[in-house]
């Protein structure tokens, strides 16, 4: 985690509340209030606040938030009622002396604005009115009406500061660290996911959501989430639907639904459970109110840490004590496979990826956990204003499993290997598809960065990860076994988002983005200029490596999620981006790849029979095996695409196929495996030659190529600057020449009229994290962003782009980055591990199809692993990584347990005192008189002990 000690010593409220400083232009504090406040209203404004020893005047949020809805008479009523002292109408009538009807009206009005609530929770069961605290209470009700913000933006600021100022205290020391376990009746409290504590026999009733639901049977309401609304108004919102998350209970539910105060309405018990379930799917945290003592709550919230003001108190002040439940998450390292699902969802950043393997000295890896506020003097320098970002760091500084780290899409490799080992193939496919919608494709063509990094490779050979993936992904090819991911909306009442997103280019990046947008609840439209979707997967990769029906099957899954793919439409020619904007498209993802080819720039390049590799491979797909390349084929280039061009030419009847490239055999860009297979097919590879001239006959048809000796490829700065010996040449006869010396972007008219900035020639300039270009609604990804790369890179980028597009088009979200997963995984030090024992089986190899000439067939000739091979291969995995819980940071919500598919993380009841509930009236006493002195004595005692130890050790 970030070293908090290096942070600023003090935070202003602006900084502390704003998260990333300067990230939100809208997030400015207004100049609200007055220097000449109404004295009666000012007196009333001091009632609902719980700010200790802090000055409240006409410029305080307590005043300016209340003044628009409380006039002098209403203020008199509040003063007569006092704070949280329920009174009957008659009692208030007697104290105020107002006309009966008028008082009735004013109470209704105060109730409408949330300043006064009513209930029947007394022995006589009569209606009693009471003034509530600002938080939880009236500040929230005032923010249930986003329509009021236009005239009263101060309501949002008042709510925000009401959740901050009481805890921030004054001077260099806040108050939160003094709050005892259980929260001392100061706000909200985490209540774990019910399923996570079902097996915990020490649990008490109030720790179970079902207890509260039964207690308030028949009295439930649901309304908008004021945190989500307020944060959105202040420019720090998130993508969630702000409505329908906050469940009111008991008389409070009746008050909310029967007054006109909010968008609340009554719901059934079944609906309560449904909403809780939807919240859990999204990883939202259940919290209950904690201001009314031992056996009363009035709301269950479903909180998103990106915007929740209550959770912020724990995260910002770095003091989980006041929010946390009685439970802590604990990982069972035997079961954990570092898939990262718990990490992804942990709201507190308490679970991160570490390692399971021991260090070289035989010890367990240690981690830099957060400091416990109960053990230290806790000044503002220990706060964490950037909590929404630092909580999203996935990996401990010591690193984690190399395979997941190295994979550009960060697939949970260790996880799916384990599932495959257990025969849980459907679940394995599901797990892979969380990061990769094209596992069957990647199982055939991936460049296998995971295997390069695999720890097992330091012992003998890397685990054959990709072959296992291919085996699992075979299920994706058949309708009856394929996996259709679930669509999860950050809403519990809508079935889809209405915002329209256009994706231009149906290659792996575009389709990956479409896939993950669809899973988030969009119906994106993909525009593809070719007749078939798939991009280079279809038009670039030869079918002996990747059969087209494999691509088609995985695209079918994406279609089934609701993605519309419009083929034969070239954006920039058939329709422009501006026209799509006019049709209502809110954002654009350009992933058109690099479909153009670089020229060698030598004489005769325009001869008939000289073609680029991209065009050649396109023709191979279009014309199939009938295509004629003659007998003598020369391929200029040494990358994987050149290899594909050469090998397809050999299959098309080329008898003398030769490759020529500048680089040496060791440094040529094609992978070793590709080179080996090429040589095995009797294709010659001539290293160290560059084209000097393309020869042609009188009809302009190519007859050969003159090559010159390449002396060096790069200059001293490792820039591409080939040097030749112009006198050392060879001439090679050729019927057909394929140039594969680089691809480039063919923009066509796509960006006409768009103010896109470019770098490195015509590559679009974009943010490397969000992929947003200089035109706000245009995002880019895949080859068009960085040049030719691999399918899996494009898939990973498409996934990230989906998150950016989602954030961009949702009107409640202002930041593309705030509280976003960093997706920064890095491997542990492989020189500092010890592997005690391992399965010593050798790496399995897939069988080849028998009875076919593998050098001539266009059919896939590599078979899948058998199930037995999968068992052997998966057993070779060293299971390097594991999730690790920071025990101080954990808030015991149990969200992690709902995401784990390996039964590897559980809640344990380690802090029973955190279930102590208190009233708001007890709060000051519990904090200042009870816990603060005890805590100080404890810290002082520890300091003395430490000092004595230091002296003794001298």
């Amino acid at each position: 985690m970030a070293n908090l000690k290096t942070k600023k010593y003090f935070y202003t409220p602006q900084e502390a509340l704003g998260g990333r400083i300067g990230d939100h232009t809208k997030h400015q504090f207004g100049n609200y209030g007055t220097d000449n406040p109404d004295p009666t209203v000012l007196k009333a404004a001091k009632i609902p606040t719980d700010r200790l020893l802090q000055k409240i005047d006409g410029r305080s949020p307590d005043y300016y938030g209340l003044a628009p809805v409380v006039d002098e008479d209403a203020a008199k009523i509040m003063i007569a009622m006092e704070l949280r002292k329920p009174k009957t109408f008659e009692e208030i009538l007697e104290k105020t002396g107002f006309d009966k009807d008028y008082l009735n009206y004013k109470l209704e009005e105060l109730g409408y604005y949330g300043v006064v609530e009513w209930d029947w929770e007394n022995d006589q069961h009569v209606k009693k009115y009471s003034v509530k605290n600002f938080v939880p209470g009236s500040a929230e009700i005032l923010n249930e009406h986003p329509e009021w913000y236009e005239d009263h933006p101060e309501f949002a600021e008042m709510f925000e500061l009401s959740t901050y100022l009481p805890f921030a205290g004054f001077g260099p020391m806040g108050l939160t660290q003094m709050i005892p376990e259980g929260g001392a009746g100061s706000g909200m409290h985490v209540i774990p996911v019910e399923k996570a504590i079902e097996a915990e026999n020490k649990s008490v009733d109030i720790e179970h959501i079902s207890y509260w639901i039964e207690k308030y049977d028949g009295h439930y309401g649901v309304g908008p989430c004021t945190c989500r609304l307020e944060r959105a108004e202040r420019g720090a919102g998130c993508t969630d639907d702000p409505n329908h998350w906050c469940i009111s209970m008991g008389d409070f539910a009746d008050y909310c639904c029967e007054s006109k105060t909010s968008g609340s309405h009554h719901i059934t018990k079944e609906e309560v459970y449904r909403i809780l379930g939807e919240a859990e799917k999204n990883g939202f945290v259940h919290q209950v109110t904690n201001v009314d003592g031992k056996d009363k709550i009035f709301a269950i919230c479903n909180c998103d840490v990106k915007i929740c003001n209550a959770m912020r108190t724990a995260m910002l002040f770095n003091t989980p004590n006041m929010e946390a439940s009685a439970y802590r998450a604990k990982v069972d390292p035997n079961n954990c496979v570092a898939c990262g699902r718990c990490v992804e969802y942990c709201p507190a950043g308490a679970v991160r990826l570490g390692q399971k393997l021991k260090c070289k000295d035989g010890c367990e890896q240690t981690y830099d956990f957060r400091e416990d506020p109960a053990e230290h003097i806790w000044l503002k320098n220990r706060w964490n204003a950037d909590y929404r970002d630092t909580n999203r760091e996935e990996t401990y500084e010591t690193g984690t499993a190399p395979c997941k780290s190295a994979c550009p899409a960060h697939i949970a490799i260790q996880g799916y290997l384990q599932m495959a080992k257990e025969g849980r193939y459907d679940e394995a496919l599901e797990l892979i598809k969380r990061e990769n919608p094209f596992p069957a494709v990647c199982g055939r063509v991936c460049n296998r960065k995971c295997e390069e990094a695999c720890t097992r490779g330091t012992i003998d050979e890397a685990v054959a990860i990709d072959e296992v993936k291919k085996f699992i992904a075979q299920r994706d090819l058949f309708e009856e076994t394929r996996f259709i991911p679930e669509i999860v909306l950050e809403s519990n009442q809508l079935t889809q988002w209405n915002e329209k997103v256009a994706i231009i280019g149906a290659g792996p990046a575009g389709l990956s983005a479409a896939n993950y947008l669809a899973q988030k609840g969009y119906k994106p439209t993909v525009f593809e200029k070719h007749d078939e979707p798939g991009g280079m997967m279809v038009y670039g990769i030869p079918s002996y490596k990747l059969q087209k029906d494999v691509v088609a099957a995985e695209i079918d899954v994406i279609r089934e999620l609701g993605v519309e793919i419009r083929t034969g439409v070239e954006v920039g020619k058939d329709v422009t981006i501006q026209e799509l904007r006019d049709q209502g498209y809110k954002a654009f993802y350009i992933a058109i790849g690099c479909q153009g080819s670089r020229k060698a720039g030598v004489a005769g390049e325009d001869a008939e029979g000289v073609i680029s590799a991209v065009d050649h491979l396109y023709n191979v797909h279009a014309q199939g095996e009938k295509m004629n390349v003659g007998k003598k084929v020369v391929v200029v280039g040494g990358g994987n695409v050149a290899v594909d061009a050469a090998r397809t030419s050999a299959r098309l009847g080329g008898e003398d196929v030769q490759m020529f490239c500048l680089e040496s055999r060791e440094t040529m860009p094609a992978s070793d495996e590709e080179v080996e297979e090429t040589l095995a097919e009797n294709i010659a590879i001539n290293n160290g030659w560059g084209p000097k001239e393309f020869l042609r006959d009188e009809n302009g048809k190519v007859t050969g190529v003159v090559f010159k000796k390449c002396l060096s490829v790069f200059d001293e700065n490792h820039k591409f600057a080939p040097k030749y010996d112009e006198n050392d040449t060879i001439t090679v006869e050729a019927d057909y020449v394929i140039t594969s010396i680089g691809q480039c972007i063919d923009w066509g008219g796509l960006l006409d009229g768009e103010d896109i900035e470019f770098v490195h020639g015509n590559y679009p300039k974009a943010d490397p994290f969000t992929y947003q270009t200089s035109v706000d609604d245009i995002f880019v990804g895949g080859d068009v962003y960085h040049g030719p790369s691999f399918v899996v890179n494009a898939i990973g980028e498409g996934h990230e782009a989906a998150e950016s597009l989602h954030r961009y088009v949702r009107p409640t979200c202002d930041s593309l980055t705030l509280g976003r997963e960093h997706r920064h995984f890095f491997e542990f030090d492989k020189n500092n591990i010890s592997v005690d024992s391992y399965d010593n089986s050798k790496r399995q190899k897939p069988a080849m199809v028998t009875g076919v000439d593998t050098a001539k067939t266009f059919d896939e000739y590599k078979q899948c692993f058998t199930e037995e091979q999968v068992k052997i291969e998966t057993a070779r995995c060293l299971s390097c990584g594991a999730s690790v819980v920071d025990p101080v940071a954990c808030i015991g919500c149990g969200v992690c347990t709902t995401k784990c598919a390996f039964d590897a993380i559980h809640l344990e009841r380690t802090h029973p005192d955190r279930s102590n509930m208190a009233t708001a009236e007890e709060s000051d006493k519990l904090i200042l008189l009870n816990n603060a002195p005890k805590r100080l004595v404890h810290i002082a005692g520890q300091s003395i002990q430490k000092a004595i130890k230091n002296v003794t050790n001298r």
Binding site: D101, H145, E147, E150, P224, E233, G263, H265, Q493, P811
Partner: protein
């Protein structure tokens, strides 16, 4: 005929802040008023007509493009609605918010005149907002008169 006016800002005559929500009326009578977004989503399929007064492209504090103002002098007609509109426009120019303007037209609030609730006649007009300039639609006993 079951009509839903969706995402309107209801100025109910009480003088309290306008609230955002949906109004449903049938056979000339208001049958349902909901405050908030999509609160009666599940009932929408049963509507004969839904008119949405929310712009697609909006921020939280904007996007509701119509105030729903009750008619105060049944039986309502267009001339009476236009008279109400004139007062709203004049008041707004003078710095008076619409809720206060309508409160003055309707008389004193709670328990004396409560205009818009389930069971009240569907007499209301929809006016544009920020600034108010014109009547978008007007209904007398549930029948559209403009």
């Amino acid at each position: 005929m079951k009509t839903m006016l969706k995402n309107v800002l209801v100025v109910d005559g009480s003088g309290w802040f306008p609230y955002w929500g949906d109004v449903v009326f049938e056979d000339g009578v208001v049958t349902y008023i909901a405050n908030g977004e999509n609160t009666i989503l599940d009932q929408e399929p049963s509507m004969d007509e839904i008119i949405d007064y929310k712009d697609g492209d909006y921020t939280l504090a904007q996007g509701w493009k119509a105030y729903l103002v009750p008619g105060i002098d049944a039986p309502m007609d267009m001339a009476k609605f236009e008279k109400q509109l004139e007062k709203i426009i004049a008041d707004e120019k003078a710095g008076k918010p619409i809720e206060k303007s309508v409160r003055e037209m309707t008389g004193f609030g709670y328990d004396k005149i409560e205009f818009l609730k389930a069971g009240s006649p569907a007499d209301f007009m929809l006016v544009d907002r920020k600034p108010v300039t014109k009547i978008l639609a007007a209904y007398a006993d549930g029948k559209k008169i403009s």
